[in-house]
Symmetry: D2
């Protein structure tokens, strides 16, 4: 592993990813056929713990609108923002139907990663092997993910959610492009919020990036702030079941020059089997948490039931 | 109102719909600008009541797969089954990217009512006026629902869910085509399940129709079993917040000859502002309820955040 | 009609459009049920005349690529560039097919006006009436254009095409944003090219706008150069059957302050029933015409056979 | 090669395909970088010959409607029929635009092989190599066909077309499922039509299958009648540039038990580089040819300009 501490930054090359990957690996931990990874930490006891966090009954959406105002540009990123179109409106009915009823219909065209979403474990890997050692030639084919698809999440993701509000901790509206969130920062934010992490918790990582992008701020998408790869070790150590963030990729982008672009993804999805959620919106929840000082919630997110899907659009909620 | 009791059936004509509609109307009940209808019954106290129903922490998906095996045929119904396609697989990356990472991507094309879904209140109405009196010329236009869109549900639907397992009550696998579920049957099923309905509850109506359609049974889609229009009165009287069913349309189809095709929709969505969910799958939940005799659950469903949407695909869950 | 000759420009208001529309009207000219408009000028004799223009047998595509690099941005124009995606590649076959054969498949998602295309006459109108007086409430509904759809063009558009190369005439690579092409300019270009227009000819209007936009030039899309509304009179007088241009809208944009945005469209499609083609690419053809001094060709364009379509993507060709 | 002449049928196995493929190969014939195959036979002289066939100036569309009534069922064939939807109609304009103009818009979602279409040479191959020896790992990838894409046809396909009206020759409306069109039958039909084939001609093969499918006939799609693989040799010998048919696959389906499903495709697209068109409609043209006894025409077909496309929807025309 190359560990380049100039400027205090730890970059990592492919050999480093492989080495850390072996260290943090969950392969085989829940059996050779396991496709659920850290979802296995969501025990029934954990679900009960989650419901016990609900004191008021207040619910918050954690999604951004699934519309054309997202961050994608197909010419540069290969992804397009969701397309929603009405196909009938103003009460117009299909041809030949003269009815007393009026109705309307609409349609969605979207990549499963184009708005607030979960990554399936079959979304990112390296060296031809997915989480738990499945080979991509048979696991992710033209007709979908045979292994590690989003259908493994269909019973829903219910757990204790913990808001990690980094910009509020640092006294800013949103993190500057390129900001690296290190394990130290995570500890420091949680310490201020008086949260003790327990196994199966879900980290709700606020950077402010996308919500402020939608509000017109120039947030520097290509240098989106986020976790450093070293947080993978922190997450593994704390038994976190999922990390959801309001940026493009959970991890910081453009911060590993000379090495892989997204080392955290590689470690998290492939070696750890860690559930990842992206492009969330924590603005309303964060306001509420700052107001009452309670940074935990019941987190519920239910990806669509897409056979073979490698991701799913999502409207996660936090209930306090 | 024409009330044709031949064969014991109560058919209803347009004048009848209008008269019953006025009787059951919730227009103005939550203010002139209200677009949420019976969602207003989901108070914070009700959310807390819902979490209190969770005893074990077991979670059940209530969705059918969002795939091409649904019941739609665009040639006859104007709707098509969801289309899911991989756009990258086996680790192939976009053009020009020589990377250490492998990834995959996929895409969905679907009508918002084409698989398990909620109807927005802007989905069905009559006499040019939507729920709460909004006129369709300004409320549901080419660029989406300005009023009563699915975005009103974005904070999520969390309440006590009650499984009404009609086929199990009747000792069959699934209801025969044309079976009319009347208020009497609802009372009888709930009585057997020892459930007392309270305001804000969500009715989970099992007919067995779609799950058995997917398993190859000839369930007679055009005569899909379901609620009679008279159940609208029952639902209003019991303060039900939503009705979700595992058939095409909640209500029985083909059972109101000479009158409107979907009188329950007209009364429910337009006059009562009642939330409706369709094409659910209660098979796993029903097994569990039959086994432990507990027919209540925490119901959570979070439609996608679609500005102007008149429905949303959905993966609802029940937690017991 | 307000005729504001300040700066030598003739602007036109709605009353002016109506007055000129009556003057140029082709309503009833080919019968009360006619939906083909100036396509009626494409007689069999004209088709033979077109084939007689072919001297060498050289063929030129007049289309731009149907891809994501077009000029649209759904956030501002409501249109998106075509989406093309592979669904199978590298020889991968559908699930369960173990075959000796390899194959690939792909998919297109596109608005019918999003790349090189013809407008159907049902695309633009005013005062609720389409070409030949069809009312839009019955002519253009949720299930497509009942009247004046693109299917009226399905036998194909074959005629003599005449290249009007305005930038070459003016000695520039492409016209500056806002350039108004007036009848005088049309006469002058045709005069230089020694072309005498005859009834049924198709005008191929080169501005250089889109081809240079694709090559990275800042061509000022919102002020796209093109025909002034007065050219409608010139076109009617010369018996032109269609105008195809390599800009967004055939006509100049942003040049009628205080009046309708697209007065030429209104007169052409609605009053004259004139076929219009947009977003063409004449670069190769123009090179050839400049080289051999021959500005006529056999023009062939065959819109897709879309029932109810109000436009069609297109790959028109010129054969010399 | 296994040559099973039981029942007078010649079946072919993979070794046979390889052997015949070598015999009929056009690899290298037009250079090592050639991606156009038999399109190279469409010389400028051939284009002039095509225009000379136009005597009357009568034009015929050879396409079926691109709509939901096609033969596909995504559940069995992996393909869906084209989806066309209005997105604005009755003159409704985008949000916030209060304009004097009325307009409408629509959208298409379709596989490039789902209605009348051309196959690109990159559509079918075997043994990992496409036409002219390009390897599929670099030639047909997630971002489209780098080699042998439909863009090679963008200048248009113009040649002499010859209608081979098999059902009329046999005195039936359409061919029975499973009917094998052999070289002998081709000779016999052409002989009756008094047509002498010349190099670069395009064969328009009428079976009546799809047009009658659309009219409700049970044409036996899985046993679609068409060419036997032996016709590949006949086509190579006659210098045919393209074969277009009104069935699913040009070739007969279900007629090579124990061997590859589509041997003609394998020989034609991969070894010969032969252009193939499918799902045409020759009904109107055939009526006209039967009436005047002239079975030749100017054939023009212009696939869309789709970078990387492996096929294209099409509205070909015949002009007589």
């Amino acid at each position: 592993m190359r560990d380049d501490r100039e400027n205090g930054l730890a970059t990592i090359d492919m050999d480093g990813v492989r080495e850390v990957g072996r260290e943090l690996s969950n392969w085989g931990r829940w059996g050779d056929e396991d496709e659920r990874g850290t979802l296995n930490l969501l025990t029934q006891a954990k679900v009960r713990e989650a419901t016990a966090t609900v004191r008021r009954g207040a619910s918050f959406s954690l999604s951004m609108p699934a519309d054309e105002h997202g961050p994608h540009d197909i010419r540069t990123s290969g992804r397009f923002n969701p397309i929603h179109t009405m196909t009938r409106y103003r009460g117009d009915m299909p041809k030949g139907q003269v009815l007393d009823v009026c109705s309307s219909e609409d349609m969605l065209i979207l990549g499963t990663h184009s708005t607030t979403h979960f990554d399936a474990l079959a979304h990112v890997w390296y060296d031809d092997l997915l989480y738990n050692g499945f080979h991509h030639d048979t696991a992710v084919t033209a007709w979908g993910a045979e292994r590690c698809s989003i259908q493994n999440l269909v019973p829903g993701v219910v757990s204790r959610g913990i808001l990690v509000d980094v910009p509020r901790h640092l006294g800013v509206d949103y993190l500057a492009p390129g900001t690296r969130i290190t394990p130290d920062i995570l500890d420091s934010v949680l310490d201020e919020a008086r949260i003790t992490v327990s196994e199966g918790d879900i980290l709700l990582l606020r950077t402010g990036t996308y919500p402020h992008h939608r509000r017109g701020a120039d947030v520097g998408l290509s240098g989106s702030p986020g976790l450093t790869w070293e947080c993978a070790r922190w997450i593994r150590g704390h038994g976190i079941a999922a990390v959801c963030a309001d940026n493009l990729a959970v991890e910081v982008l453009g911060a590993n020059p000379g090495g892989p672009m997204i080392p955290f993804h590689m470690l998290a999805l492939r070696d750890m089997g860690l559930l990842m959620g992206e492009m969330f919106d924590f603005e309303d929840l964060a306001e509420d948490c700052a107001a009452d000082g309670v940074y935990e919630c019941m987190f519920v997110a239910c990806p669509l039931n897409i056979p073979g899907g490698v991701g799913s659009p999502l409207n996660p909620i936090a209930v306090k």
